[in-house]
Symmetry: C2
């Protein structure tokens, strides 16, 4: 059902990669997994689901975020899905662009052809992958979700649409209002078609108005992020959260950009946030 394709010891635990056939995405998929030293079949550990940004695979976060040191100490697994369906027969951007198609699944379920057959990353990361991981690996059903950029959008949307499914949520540099920015408009118009009303269910700012659960949002954004004003618009998130009375801890980090150097710098803060919610840390 799943096959291990690599395993490296890392901070006393394991950084691994697995391949499996995804029914939801109708293709083979690879995902990454960090297992802390204390994970065992008898004692499965809570997991953070990390959703990566445009162009990433399952490997970028594992190699660049520096999360394993503290995750090992806290006893937290990290599950790292790919960012789109892959493989022969999976269509990419017709123009070969990097902001749509392969590496750019936007964590939604596409409704338009030729995307609808494979591009169902929402169902994959919310349902199919956790079920697979929890059935086959020493990982419990206590879940947190976080991500970067397109993956920050994904994390916020997954949490807001699924009350009770995640203990905590956080994001770095998220695309919070994809309906209103170029990356989102390009992706949504192709994956979802022209009816903008159907886009609202995949837009954090729109979802906040009707959120059934008041899960606090932890969000870090760099003030020197080159995408800040055109694609990220954190002020839209502030306004939407305030209007909805939704708890938001938005941190504008002076001088930081959009890179994994930024993500790594504040990763420990986010891991501790999730560890507290998962009961791994008492303060």
């Amino acid at each position: 059902m799943i096959s291990e394709i690599s395993a490296s010891r890392c901070f006393g635990g394991w950084q691994k990669r697995f391949r499996h056939a995804s029914r939801v995405l109708d293709c083979d998929m690879v995902f990454g997994l960090f297992l802390p030293p204390n994970a065992s079949a008898d004692d499965p550990v809570p997991a953070l689901y990390w959703l990566s940004g445009l162009t990433c695979t399952d490997e970028n976060f594992a190699q660049k975020a520096g999360a394993q040191r503290l995750a090992a100490e806290l006893g937290m697994a990290i599950v790292i899905p790919d960012t789109s369906p892959r493989g022969p027969g999976v269509p990419g951007d017709p123009d070969g662009a990097w902001d749509f198609g392969l590496g750019a699944g936007f964590y939604l379920n596409a409704t338009q052809e030729p995307w609808a057959r494979h591009y169902r990353m929402y169902d994959y990361v919310v349902s199919e992958l956790p079920a697979l991981v929890e059935a086959n690996l020493p990982v419990s059903a206590e879940r947190a979700v976080a991500g970067h950029s397109m993956g920050g959008h994904g994390a916020l949307v997954c949490a807001l649409r699924n009350p009770g499914r995640y203990r905590s949520v956080s994001a770095f540099s998220p695309i919070v209002d994809p309906m209103a920015v170029p990356w989102g408009e390009k992706a949504f118009s192709r994956y979802l078609g022209p009816d903008r009303e159907s886009w609202r269910q995949w837009d954090t700012c729109a979802l906040l108005a009707d959120a059934a659960e008041r899960l606090p949002l932890l969000v870090d954004v760099g003030s020197a992020d080159p995408f800040l004003d055109t694609q990220l618009k954190p002020e839209a998130l502030s306004r939407a959260a305030a209007a909805a009375g939704h708890p938001l801890d938005l941190r504008l980090r002076d001088g930081y950009d959009h890179s994994y150097f930024f993500v790594a710098s504040f990763m420990d803060d986010h891991l501790r946030h999730h560890a507290r919610a998962l009961g791994l840390l008492t303060r």
Copy 2:
């Protein structure tokens, strides 16, 4: 003289890249630099010179080793040279292999054509680059040196050949006896020619016999490293150090491999080793 080509805030400091014309290598070179938050022209900070392994550029360590968090706290800069000369006119492996030529300079001064003109990485990392860095950036002349695999070989050779130049030295998975293993024999026979006597000055085990300074060697190697028995041979280092009465702290790490997941796992140990020698940490 040097131009900054990128700068990202990182753990309160900066991760940067610079380009400059290297006189020694007769080509343009790029190097990486981490500057901790406390570095300033009035208060330059000590630096660790990190020498990377086969196939790396200046970017791998900066992205994968997770060293910046503790280096920021300790107040230590990290200078990260490329692993070979680069650019138009610099010859690579005639067969396109990854273990010789581009990305594989072996931190020596070549004597044979067509390599001798550009392949002088030893002079570059020991002399030209530190002089450039110390003259133009807030980095002092208090130096430590470390590296991984081919770069571990480089770090040990640079330290052993230059008494007093480095306060401390360490290596992950180093090639300690290149004269006697396939990677080294291939590189040395081409860069240095058939006279094996001339190879001894670039071989850690050979240099230990005549070391003028008893700088302790800190070395970590993974027991599951796929290159352990064929290319690394840590037991040769143990024998040579014992025969020379040279202090060696060799740690065989159970189950770890050759990857940056291994390097990252023990990076803090190495940074603290260097910080103590550089006077940045008192115990």
